[in-house]
Amino acid sequence: MDGGNSSEPVLLRIEHLHKRFGTTAALVDASLTVRRGERVVLIGSSGSGKSTLLRCINHLEVPDQGSIWLDGEFMGGRFAADGRWIQASSGELARQRRHIGMVFQSFNLFAHLSALDNVALGPQWILKRPKALARAQARQLLAKVHLAGHEHKLPAQLSGGQQQRVAIARALAMGPKLMLFDEPTSALDPRLTREVLEVMLELAREQTTMLVVTHELGFARQVADTVGFLEEGRIVEVGTPEQIFDRPQHPSTQAFLNCFSPGGL
């Protein structure tokens, strides 16, 4: 079930997650493990629950049921000695989220701050690093995502691809244990998609633990250790890229992948 790094310890464990929005079941009994250094890619149609799963991990959405452990720590609360569930305070939740970087489909860069400040803000205010150090590190990270020279531009002055790379640098600046990517290239044209995927490929090569929701199946095949297919809130199939793309077992997976094959349309 787990991919390439099966000797590595489990970093993220999701068990029996349920989430409803009104009458719609967004997640049904979803379970998944991600090992340290593993690259997991989730695929599936829009509305299949991929984004909800990601957003439950850092509690932007609060799951109705189920449990999430990050590095052995229960996300979003804890059980008291008598077995009672105690919801995490907003401060505790904030501390837990520091270990999880998130990249959004719509970038969500802080609109009033320069690229450099977008990256430096978290380390400076959340991790209480000295300003000069936070900014020096932010410069390095911007260079790493190929944006040296763009430090002082506002988000509105950057292309979508550049904004998304700033967003990746911003997430990395917190030194997260896990990076979540929620359809990071869905809002971008093919050329801009490519520059973002290249940065993600570099991260993958550095053994960054990544959980990626994407429709870029080529990327999934290239970097993923493990691919999961979701349909109607259920994780219906998990396997290596070869298993999922070349020998999908579940009829839904087969139908979904057929849409992408040359004969599909």
């Binding site: 932007l60 009033h112 205010w125 509105a156 904004q163």
Partner: protein
Amino acid sequence: MEDAPLLFAGLDVRFMVEIFPRMVQALLVTVQISALALLLGIVLGIPLGGLRVIGPRPLQLLIQGLVSYIRGTPQILHFLVVYFALPGVGILLDEYWTGVVALTVIAVGYEVEIVRAAIESVHKGQREAALAQGMTEPMAFWLILLPQATRRMLPALTNELINVIKASALLSVIAVNELTKVGNAIIYNTFYFVEVLLEVAVLYMLVIGALSWLSKYLENKVFSFGAALSTPETR
């Protein structure tokens, strides 16, 4: 008034010049009280407006109730409450501070709503990105939401200062020497109705016009990241 009146369009210009220094002095009192009230209103209105959006539910309802009371009652009521009711619970203020406190109450009532609307108009992805990075709600408010909301508040806040200046005319009923009161006093002594009222009106208009201009200037020059705010989504 020994000299012959200098008439222009039927107005006694010499008299208007003569009373001008007193009127300007009264205008300064008006502006001073209004500015103090607006400032106190902002100091209270921003945290209250923030809590109105991100605070615990009971607190949100409490603030909403307060706002409904302030906005749903005539402004003069707030002056009367501060002037007559506060001494009953042991708080004695002179006329000047009665004016400041009552105007602050009025200002807060509207500023809470201005802050709330501005905060809620910031794209929700901004708050999510802040929280996802590990900021607490207050941090996200002060570092991300409020700076972006500030520019949107400015026109409304200037309007509110204008409202407060206009409401300050009600202070004449508790004998604060602001512009309307001083104008009235001169009229009672001299019966120069038109000259005094015209001068009062022009002075109010000058101050309020200057404020409107200032607001537009700030909006355009100081907070120039506006382009980014209008299109927080993909470009």
